[in-house]
């Protein structure tokens, strides 16, 4: 039987996301409690978390989280890493033995910066350089997989229920200003650790509940821009589309939302001339970046997240706010579990994004001022 990554597997899921807009950090236990409420939405074949603001000591370094199937994969990858990067710090990611998480690969993290001489020779900016490196490792080194590559953030995922994954990675010991979580219900084959969510590239991470009917169209569109979809998961495609729109094409996140869940033509025709011009161009240029089919998705980037449904809302998504905290989740129960009395609870319409961002512009300043409450 083909392993995940070689074959496309649809899956249903639970998602949850929490941000403190003031930039204050909080423990991973909160998001773990939230996602655990939706235990029945996953089947133990994948769970994961993305945490932002967890590595203040290495906030200028790219944090690579790696899965290795064996020592050889590790050795090959480290040879390549050392040739291309200055490694500021590396370690095995701390885990605790738990009953339900089995068959763990070797899990390591590296805090790196590209070697200037290599970067200059490549004639790329450092982000493109890193993306290329990630694609190279994931595609060409057998048994090695970079599953997290952002700055001052990290993804933690495994095959298991999300609450067990949190316990496994000791997430209660990490503190971040923004967390997302995912519990997976794949409809085929015991999952592969790399196939769990969140899916990450640089600082963009995606947790996703849904199945993209447009998968093959999206994938081929992305390949034209140099992306190589190695995982064959819908989430990978969603992540790359956001990377393309936000990082490469510099679209504001509000408009990126209108690309993946674009307004209908008869809605566009009713807009003001200026908006009509904008959406006419957006829809035509990015027609193949439309994510079609049922989904609810939370995309996290440097300073916030966007949570959005497909444009006819075929998957659940609820949002709530209390003070500086913004919550989004597949079910309201997952929000109420960690926020008893929200100021406001609402169900976003199909295609209407919930966007929550840190209010201070400079995230690095936050850490200079705030105590980390670990």
């Amino acid at each position: 039987m083909l392993k995940e990554g070689n074959i496309r597997i649809p899956s249903g899921c639970a998602i949850s996301g929490i941000i403190d807009k003031s930039g204050a950090v909080f423990s991973g236990q909160i998001i773990a409690d939230s996602i655990a409420t939706m235990h029945d939405r996953s089947n133990g074949l994948g769970g994961g978390f993305a945490a932002y603001g967890i590595y203040p000591d290495f906030k200028e370094h790219y944090a690579f989280h790696m899965f290795y199937d064996d020592a050889k994969a590790k050795q090959d990858t480290e040879d390549l890493l050392k040739a291309n990067f200055v490694i500021a710090y590396e370690e095995k990611i701390p885990t605790r033995k738990t009953q339900s998480i089995k068959n763990a690969p070797l899990i390591h993290r590296y805090f790196v910066l590209p070697k200037l001489e290599v970067l200059n020779a490549s004639e790329m900016n450092d982000e493109d350089f890193i993306v290329k490196f990630i694609f190279n490792v994931n595609k060409n080194i057998d048994g090695a997989y970079i599953f997290s590559s952002g700055k001052n953030m990290g993804v933690f995922k495994a095959v298991g229920y999300p609450e067990d994954v949190a316990e496994f990675y000791k997430l209660e010991t990490y503190n971040g200003y923004m967390w997302t979580a995912h519990g997976r219900f794949p409809t085929n084959t015991p999952g592969w650790w790399g196939g769990a969510h969140p899916f990450n590239l640089l600082n963009i991470s995606v947790v996703h509940n849904g199945e993209l009917s447009s998968y093959d169209t999206n994938r081929k569109y992305l390949e034209e821009f140099g992306y190589s979809c190695t995982l064959m998961t819908d989430t990978e495609v969603a992540a790359y589309i956001f990377d393309l729109l936000l990082r490469k094409h510099k679209l504001p996140v509000t408009l990126a939302a209108k690309v993946i869940a674009s307004p209908l033509w008869n809605q566009v025709e009713r807009l003001s001339p200026k908006e009509r011009e904008l959406y006419y161009n957006l829809k035509i240029i990015y027609s193949k970046a439309l994510l079609n089919g049922p989904f609810s998705i939370i995309v996290t980037y440097d300073n916030g997240f966007i949570a959005i449904n497909d444009r006819i809302k075929l998957r659940p998504l609820t949002a709530a706010s209390q003070g500086d905290m913004i919550y989004v989740a597949s079910e309201e129960s997952a929000i109420r579990r960690v926020c008893k009395n929200p100021d406001k609870v609402w169900i976003p319409k199909g295609g209407e994004p919930v966007i929550a961002e840190i209010e201070q512009q400079n995230i690095s300043e936050i850490y200079d001022k705030k105590e980390v409450t670990a």
Binding site: S214, Y215, N218, K220, L264, N266, Y280, S287, N292, R311
Partner: protein, 501 residues
């Protein structure tokens, strides 16, 4: 003259219990099959002349007529078939190239029929187009790589000219000359009402149809018939015709007897003169020459109209298409080897070119691998027979399709494959005023609207079944297809999996 060795192809069966000698069949048949025998006081038929167009069958008020394949057989021979023997008789008699019309009718595999379409079950809800929005609108033209915005979100990108289609379907190039005035009138008016486009073909644009200019694609072919400033100005888009699926590599010939006063004016040639389209454009002997013509036409139309290029699907179609994309074309129309024609040498129609299914798949793959697919539109032609063929063509990588034969069938064509004779009893492929008037464009355009609307509904249903609510999300979505009864090589070229995989 020696003896004609041919026997009739069809047999006219008349039910004399029903026949009332009204002579409708006689008046309706341009081939003069039917006649009235006064001595016998009954209608008789000359089977030799019958082409099985079924005009008499349909028109007979008492349903007395049936046309059947003539039961006369040759001694069975798997090698020397009926057609093989008869073609020799005909050529031995005339010394000429065998002519044929409509598309390749040989029993080549039809790959559309070896592909099946996906639908959602459980993990992905299917969408009901009667209750949910379902978008079929598409745009044909070059697309920029990315959108450029200023700080106030004003669009800085300059969008190249686009054709806006309410359905991913256009009426294929069929010239005035090869088909009648009333056929053109039906196509043009239907295109306008539907919000799609029809294509003039290479025979110029009749002055009466200039009012449909916004829904008209005009062709510039090797004969340059009817091309002037007004022609280019009137159209929504200009298409350079390099080749045609029914006869790749050769030109065209409208015999002088079809060049009436009206056609002469439209084509800008003298009445009664043969209209010869050379095999190549004599100003295009290479890809760089094509680029010059593309840009000449863009200059002539102020860069306000898409300029497309139509080619026949041939062995090297992927590389040719890549060249055309780089030469500056806004869209590429590819016509497969089953594409129709008003007249083509039979050997060429039946043996030259490749199936459109392979051509679309390999062109789409090639342009994607070069990273230029999203910059250009791809139109598939060459025997699209129904809405499922359209779904499959788009999933393989086409942006839209051209239909020719299907449109003619909608207005009455019975596929008798005798367009070249000019005796079309249905008033479609003829210039005989008495025959032309049999096709009522008032009815014709409505039948075309019905056809496209019906196909639109079917496409929406199939899209909804796949969990897709925008035709854009089907483009190149080959995971939605599975193959049945194909070799691995065929599956690989089409880029699809086998059913069950």
């Amino acid at each position: 003259m020696s003896l004609n060795y041919l026997t009739p192809e069809f047999k006219v069966l008349r039910d004399y219990d029903r026949c009332i000698n009204c002579k409708v069949c006689m008046r309706q048949c341009a081939n003069e099959v039917h006649s009235y025998d006064e001595d016998l006081d009954k209608m008789i038929a000359d089977d030799y002349k019958c082409v099985n167009c079924q005009r008499c069958v349909v028109m007979c008020p008492t349903h007395a007529l049936t046309i059947i394949k003539h039961p006369q057989v040759f001694r069975e021979n798997a090698n020397w078939t009926y057609d093989a023997i008869r073609d020799i008789y005909r050529q031995a008699e005339t010394g000429g190239v065998l002519l044929s019309a409509m598309g390749n009718d040989r029993p080549y595999p039809i790959y559309w029929d070896k592909m099946v379409i996906n639908a959602s079950q459980v993990t992905n809800p299917s969408i009901d187009p009667l209750r949910e929005p379902m978008e079929l609108k598409i745009f044909i033209g070059r697309k920029p790589d990315k959108i450029e915005l200023d700080e106030n979100l004003n669009v800085k990108t300059k969008m190249p000219p686009q054709l806006k289609l309410n359905f991913p379907i256009m009426f294929s190039a069929m010239s005035y000359g090869s088909i009648s005035y009333n056929a053109h009138a039906s196509l043009a008016r239907a295109a306008k009402e539907l919000g799609i486009y029809y294509n003039t073909g290479e025979g110029g644009l009749h002055k009466d149809f200039r009012k449909y200019g916004e829904n008209t694609i005009v062709q510039v072919a090797s004969g340059r018939f009817g091309v002037d400033r007004e022609y280019l100005k009137t159209a929504a888009a200009v298409e350079i015709k390099i080749g045609q699926g029914a006869k790749p590599g050769i030109g065209g010939h409208l015999p002088g007897e079809k060049v009436s006063e009206d056609i002469s004016e439209t084509r800008m040639i003298p009445v009664g003169s043969d209209a010869i389209s050379p095999a190549p454009h004599h100003d295009i002997y290479s890809i760089e020459d094509l680029s010059q013509l593309i840009y000449s036409l863009k200059e002539a139309t102020d860069y306000k109209k898409p300029v497309g290029v139509k080619i026949a699907a041939v062995n090297n179609v992927a590389a040719i298409a890549s060249g055309i994309a780089r030469a500056g074309a806004d869209y590429i129309a590819i016509d497969g080897f089953r594409g129709g024609t008003g007249a083509a040498p039979k050997r060429i129609r039946d043996n030259v070119g490749i199936p459109i299914e392979f051509a679309i798949a390999s062109v789409d793959s090639r342009l994607r691998s070069e990273g230029i697919r999203h910059t250009i539109s791809l139109v598939a032609a060459g025997s699209i027979r129904n809405s499922a063929d359209i779904i499959k063509a788009i999933a393989l990588g086409a942006d839209a399709v051209y239909i020719g034969s299907a449109a003619l069938i909608a207005i009455g064509c019975h596929m008798c494959q005798q367009c070249n004779t000019g005796k079309c009893n249905w008033g479609i492929a003829t210039q005989d005023p008495n025959l032309v008037k049999r096709l009522n464009p008032e009815i014709g355009y409505k039948r075309l609207i019905n056809l496209i609307t019906a196909w639109g509904h079917e496409i929406q249903e199939m899209l909804g079944g796949m969990g897709i609510n925008d035709i854009e999300s089907l483009k190149g979505n080959r995971l939605m297809l599975r193959g049945i009864g194909m070799t691995q090589k065929e599956l690989d070229i089409l880029g699809i999996l086998a059913a069950g995989e």
